[in-house]
């Protein structure tokens, strides 16, 4: 008679892909309904959104450059978060770690930018950002390991501590505050010297590929190799799967957690360094919410390194595309992207259920079967 839910043992890849694809399509469908309701042609809107408005656009190269500026920090932040998530360490402090990284990167750029050669400055920016973010994450991991402090809630709190530190530095005129332009009366962020910007590679036409884009793919490859091939990656997998087994095998689980969370936060710091090294000015909205969105991306990608790139590309497209489209379709606010992202994730979570569980019918009659 009745229906009930049982766990599914294994779901083939093609079936999973189908479920996710259907989820995304249904989400776009719901979006269409809303667009129709306010009198916008969804096909026209989506076309504009997903092409980032580059069709018939003379300065399309600028669009691509700006799009990649969004994509790189998001992908790198998600990669970093995925490392911690693999160990079931709920680091939702990406936002705070990103800010700490950005502050350190900016300090390095402003203080050293004009004194050292560009390569050295860029290296220092990255190292400073990674150290700052890494330590901010390590603090939580240490408390978790030592006292069992709830890392979800603690990283959440520390996000806001970082946010207000950033706001303070961006809003307080003082002699010591090198983050602000000393020549302005109002608090205006200091522009970084040109030597602290990442170089670009001309790709023909006016499009120039920022070296960060290449670096982020190289890092992705390294992380993939790290997780799949190295001893440390193996340890992360074992600890994430069964911490009892890891201890039993003689692994120093506390050290592995500390190391991995540090590493995870370092990557988020590096994302901040890349962001600072491409935009060149600090601001209170420097994170563009990548700490939050990164969590969603990592989860949507099921912590799979390459899928993270694909999902980051899609989500960046939603956000950037909606800003572009908002210029043409005045009725549609760019917050439409946030709604759409919500629909997609809700539906993917629902699809996930279909993958993890099966609904079966309780048989009653065939006793002798």
């Amino acid at each position: 008679m009745g229906l009930h839910i049982v766990k599914r043992e294994n779901c083939p890849l093609w079936k999973r892909c189908c479920f996710y694809l259907i989820a995304v399509l249904v989400a776009l469908g719901i979006g269409s309904v809303i667009l129709l309701a306010i009198g916008v042609n969804p096909v026209a809107y989506y076309t504009r959104m997903f092409t980032l408005g580059t069709i018939g656009n003379k300065i399309a190269y600028k669009t691509y450059i700006n799009y990649l500026k969004d994509f790189v920090p998001l992908a790198l932040t998600s990669l970093g978060l995925s490392l911690a998530f693999k160990m079931r360490f709920w680091n939702i402090g990406g936002e705070g770690q990103f800010i700490m990284g950005a502050l350190a990167a900016s300090a390095a750029a402003i203080l050293l930018g004009n004194t050292l050669p560009s390569a050295a400055v860029l290296l220092l920016i990255c190292v400073a950002a990674m150290a700052a973010a890494g330590l901010y994450g390590l603090l939580v991991a240490a408390l978790k390991v030592k006292f069992g402090t709830n890392e979800t809630l603690l990283t959440l709190m520390l996000n806001y501590v970082a946010v207000y530190l950033l706001n303070f530095l961006m809003g307080t005129k003082a002699g010591w505050n090198f983050y602000l332009n000393a020549n302005e009366l109002r608090p205006v962020p200091q522009k970084h010297p040109d030597s602290s910007l990442f170089p670009t590679i001309p790709m023909g036409g006016k499009f120039e590929l920022n070296i960060c884009v290449i670096l982020v793919f190289v890092i992705g490859l390294l992380i993939y190799v790290y997780l799949k091939r190295t001893k440390q990656g193996y340890e992360i997998n074992v600890v994430g799967d069964s911490i009892g087994t890891a201890r039993y095998a003689g692994m120093k689980t506390n050290r592995i957690v500390l190391r991995t969370v540090f590493f995870s936060a370092c990557l988020i710091g590096l994302a901040a360094a890349f962001k600072m090294g491409t935009v060149g000015t600090l601001s209170t909205s420097i994170t563009a919410d990548v700490g939050w969105t990164g969590i969603i991306v990592a989860w949507l990608a099921q912590l799979n390194t390459w899928v993270i790139f694909a999902v980051s590309a899609l989500i960046s497209m939603l956000h950037y595309g909606s800003t572009v489209a908002a210029a043409t379709f005045k009725q549609v606010d760019s917050s439409f992207a946030n709604m759409l992202q919500g629909f997609i994730l809700f539906l993917v979570l629902a699809a996930d259920f279909m993958i993890r569980f099966r609904i079966v019918r309780t048989r009653k009659e065939d006793r002798n079967g």
């Binding site: 190295t230 799967d241 087994t245």
Partner: protein, 528 residues
């Protein structure tokens, strides 16, 4: 007209993924009787009862309560039908008082919690013949207090049929007798009782009828008065009591592992192992027998370096291993494999492949930062071939293997590492006969190779056939070490319940201390 039963279960089948836990099981309970549900571990007793109490839903089959077909979709339904279950792992809210644990399931409890609920609960408990403190918090209760609370709870909800899952496993002898008195009284009052157990003496003592399950299948139901332990065992294990397990006779060596005066605390802080002495020689299998939860787990963990010890010494080949890291202990050649109830908790990483599980303990031994999976794959292939592991490939996640194959993978890895001491707990739990014999053979081969083996088991017949000596634990204390071929099940049973203490049988030499001990060598710095 056929006899009317309080509960009838017909053709019940239940599978978890590919594992069939119950297959076409029949069970019936008369009003006012005690039915023992007998079967080995993993025979599907608890699963079957969980379907009666609404935790699981059967894949097929039907349940009749008082002759009427019943649909039990949830514990709520079971409660309404007058079925109550005392689970082996108590279902209590730790931070609540005894009274609130009962009150939370009370129907028509009204809106406001009144202070008089404590008095009400105390009174009702007295009526049932129990004395409890209604205000006592569960986290301050002893195991038997918690069990009492669980029983009061189901009685309070008006259960006519009461299921008890292995209620004696955690109790002392006196507490067991008290429990049985309670059960008899409940029976007289007209309750039907189902008691899950795998202990024959208890079946004979308390039950009116016995239903037997073997490997998820229903075997038979018999009147207790018309049967005996011999017959029950045959139904339960499906083979004559003579197990025909080989016990090769070996030249034993000097003690490999010696434990003196060892005291260990459990997670809850109570003393789990209390001043225990024993030693293992090379070429012998020392069995550890005892009621579940008598410190076996803690002992295994302490030897493997996973649990700090309170006091005492552990000497391996003359070297002190107390305080060493799990890694260092592994390097000394001490292998521990502990298979808890869920089978995958310690020793294997369930989502990882067989290959990845093979390299669990030696992945760090190769040079460089990379994992060498080639060696792991070769090891996996060898174990699969030699131990006949049934698996699609070496890259299959361990969680998708059946229980016997999981055990083979685990033991296969341990043996490949070439240990000199093997500590293994419940290695045949839930396995079929053939798989079990494969495991016994592996252990015997290791014994013949001069390895010292500590075998924590639960089946007395197996232990008497396989082990050379058996150490019996009761509440963390050693009740004695006996020669397996000289002892009897009765003697072991008495020792397990604490009724017989043979630890000082030989006045000149307390049990568990070797004549040719290597104690003291550590201080003199001889031998590594």
């Amino acid at each position: 007209m056929s006899e009317r039963y309080a509960i009838e279960m017909r053709g019940i089948t239940k599978a978890f993924g590919s594992v069939v836990a119950n297959s076409n099981v029949e069970l019936n309970v008369k009003q006012g009787e005690i039915l023992a549900l007998l079967g080995e571990n993993g025979s599907g007793k608890t699963t079957l009862m969980n379907m009666l109490s609404g935790i699981y839903k059967p894949d097929s089959g039907s349940i009749l309560v008082d002759g009427r077909e019943a649909v039990i979709n949830s514990p709520e339904d079971a409660k309404k039908l007058g079925i109550g279950m005392v689970h082996q792992h108590f279902k209590l809210v730790d931070v609540f008082s005894a009274a609130d644990n009962i009150w939370m399931g009370k129907e028509r409890a009204g809106l406001v919690l009144k202070k008089d609920r404590y008095a009400q609960i105390r009174e009702i408990s007295r009526k049932f013949g129990f004395e409890i403190d209604p205000k006592k918090k569960v986290y301050n209760m002893s195991v038997s207090e918690k069990q009492t609370l669980e029983i009061i709870k189901v009685l309070y909800y008006g259960a006519k049929t009461i299921i008890l899952d292995e209620p004696t496993a955690v109790l002392t002898v006196q507490e067991i007798q008290k429990l049985f008195a309670v059960l008899r009284k409940m029976k007289e009052e007209g309750h039907s009782i189902i008691i899950i157990t795998h202990k024959l003496n208890e079946v004979m003592e308390i039950s009116d009828r016995v239903a037997i399950l073997r490997k998820g299948a229903y075997i038979t139901t018999v009147e207790t008065a018309q049967t005996n332990e011999q017959a029950l065992t045959e139904w339960m294990v499906g083979r004559p009591i003579d197990l025909n397990i080989d016990r090769p006779v070996m030249e034993t060596t000097r003690p490999l592992l010696e434990v003196r005066d060892l005291t260990i605390r459990s997670d809850e802080g109570s003393v789990a192992i209390d001043g225990v002495n024993f030693y293992i020689r090379g070429g012998e299998i020392l069995g550890v027998a005892g009621i579940a939860g008598c410190g076996q787990k803690e002992l295994c963990e302490a030897i493997a370096g996973l649990r700090p010890i309170e006091k005492g010494q552990m000497i391996h080949k003359g070297d002190n291993i107390v305080g060493l890291s799990p890694k260092k202990i592994l390097e000394k050649g001490i292998s521990m494999s502990f298979i808890p109830e869920d089978r995958l908790g310690m020793g294997l990483a369930p989502s990882l492949s067989i290959t990845d599980n093979m390299i669990l303990k030696n992945y760090a031994d190769t040079k460089g930062p990379f994992v060498n999976r080639k060696l792991g794959r070769a090891d996996a292939e060898q174990v699969i071939r030699e131990l006949e592991v049934v698996t699609p490939s070496t890259e299959t996640p361990v969680r998708r293997l059946s229980g016997g194959n999981v055990q083979k993978v685990l033991l296969g890895r341990e043996i490949k590492a070439g240990p000199n001491v093997i500590v293994t707990a419940y290695p045949v739990r839930g396995l079929d006969i053939n798989s079990s014999f494969t495991i016994y053979n592996i252990l015997n081969q290791q014994k013949q190779a001069g390895v010292g083996i500590l075998f924590v088991g639960e089946d007395m017949d197996v232990m008497m056939a396989l082990c050379d000596k058996i150490m019996v634990l009761c509440h963390g204390k050693v009740m004695g070490v006996v020669h397996a071929h000289k002892t009897t099940k009765e003697e072991l049973g008495l020792m397990m319940t604490g009724a017989l203490d043979l630890s000082n049988k030989y006045e000149d030499k307390p049990a568990g201390i070797a004549k040719d001990s290597r104690f003291g060598e550590a201080e003199q710095g001889e031998e590594a």
